[in-house]
């Protein structure tokens, strides 16, 4: 077949899909839920199970199953699944080593690689086509707010939804990451690590006897600046939690909403390239969570020598 006829056939197919989708696959945009839906009927005492929690458990099961299957019959020369898992882990380990150095890489690796794999699988899990069709039908009482108020209607509460589209999940990961940053900082530098936040060294130097008055003033000024910088460092630790969690949530949630809107505008044809884009975004977001956590760990464990060099 000639190249030109091939392209023509592909174009014709796309147009046919476009027409068929527009004729038969139109649907009204369902309301966008920012909060994870609670699965009705699945309840353990006071604990209500949301669909993101259920999916997080499924993602965990997938990761555990792959790990067990890959290591069940280990061979020196790996084949198949073992080979693939080894390739993934070795790539991650080399990356970890290139950022953190050979000394700290073994200690960081377990946490950062777990974060990467978990975020990656949960990002991609939400992209499985048809996933949100599995659900429990619920009689929906009309929204009080605004434009969706159209009386009682039936809605599907999906059983599965990517954990990354639930802010709670991302907040938990971000808090784990920032907390472990402090832990590694203390392991590496001891109590000296907290000197980053409460920096009174400059003020102490200003109060030392035997310093000229002018020098005392300048030391005092620098000490005050250092103190303010310490406060800023403490604030930036809190800001890390916010930006970590909202970055992942915003990217993945916005991606899914975009796919939904595109599917309601132009069914079948337009969604496919954007699905590919979302696969890429899911990988990039997992990578960014991984590399930022790693970078913060590395920054916390390396002593900031320039402060000693100043005086």
């Amino acid at each position: 077949m000639k190249k030109r006829t091939k392209i023509l056939l592909i174009l014709l197919g796309a147009v046919a899909l476009l027409v068929a989708g527009n004729l038969y696959l139109r649907f009204r945009l369902p309301p966008v839920m920012i909060r994870a839906e609670i699965i009705p009927g699945l309840r353990f005492g006071p604990l209500q199970v949301t669909n993101t929690l259920l999916t997080a458990l499924v993602v965990d099961l997938i990761l555990v199953a792959v790990a067990v299957l890959a290591t069940r019959r280990m061979r020196l020369v790996p084949t198949g699944l073992q080979n693939f898992v080894e390739w993934v882990l070795e790539t991650l380990y080399h990356l970890t080593e290139s950022v953190a150095g050979a000394r700290w890489a073994p200690r960081f690796f377990a946490i950062v690689a777990t974060i990467f794999l978990y975020v990656l699988v949960s990002n991609w899990f939400g992209l499985l086509p048809g996933l949100s069709a599995f659900g429990v039908v619920e009689e929906h009482v009309a929204h009080a707010s605004g434009h969706h108020a159209e009386g009682a209607e039936k809605l599907i509460v999906p059983l599965f939804r990517s954990p990354s589209t639930d802010l709670n999940n991302n907040l938990a990961l971000a808090m784990l990451s920032v907390f472990m940053t402090q832990v590694f900082g203390v392991i590496a530098l001891g109590p000296r690590y907290f000197g980053k936040f409460v920096n009174v060294g400059g003020l102490g130097a200003a109060l030392r006897p035997g310093v000229s008055l002018r020098r005392r003033f300048s030391l005092l000024a620098f000490g005050a600046i250092n103190l303010a910088v310490g406060v800023l460092e403490a604030i930036s630790e809190v800001a890390k939690v916010i930006s970590f969690s909202f970055r992942l949530f915003g990217n993945i949630f916005a991606g899914e909403v975009m796919l939904l809107v595109l599917a309601s505008l132009v069914p079948l044809v337009l969604t496919l390239p954007f699905l590919g884009l979302e696969v890429f975004v899911g990988l990039i977001q997992a990578f960014i969570f991984f590399i930022l956590t790693l970078a913060f760990f590395t920054m916390a464990t390396s002593a900031h020598g320039h402060e000693e060099a100043e005086h």
Binding site: L95, S243, R247, F253, I288, L292
Partner: protein, 76 residues
Amino acid sequence: MDLSTAKFLAAGLAIGLGAVGPGIGIGILAAGALQAIGRNPDATSRIQTFMFIGIAFAEAIAIYSLVVALILLFVL
């Protein structure tokens, strides 16, 4: 202007204006990284890593405004 009109307008403005700065920032970042790779192709992988970190920081600002827009549209 009633409340829902104001809400839509605010959401559109929030993401539209909020995307300007990060767009410029990511452009500058990518330009710098490409220049660096052009000068020193051997350091490509390291430069890429740092470029992604920088892009993540720049992009976070856009994500904040996206979250604000989503909250305006669907929560408030």
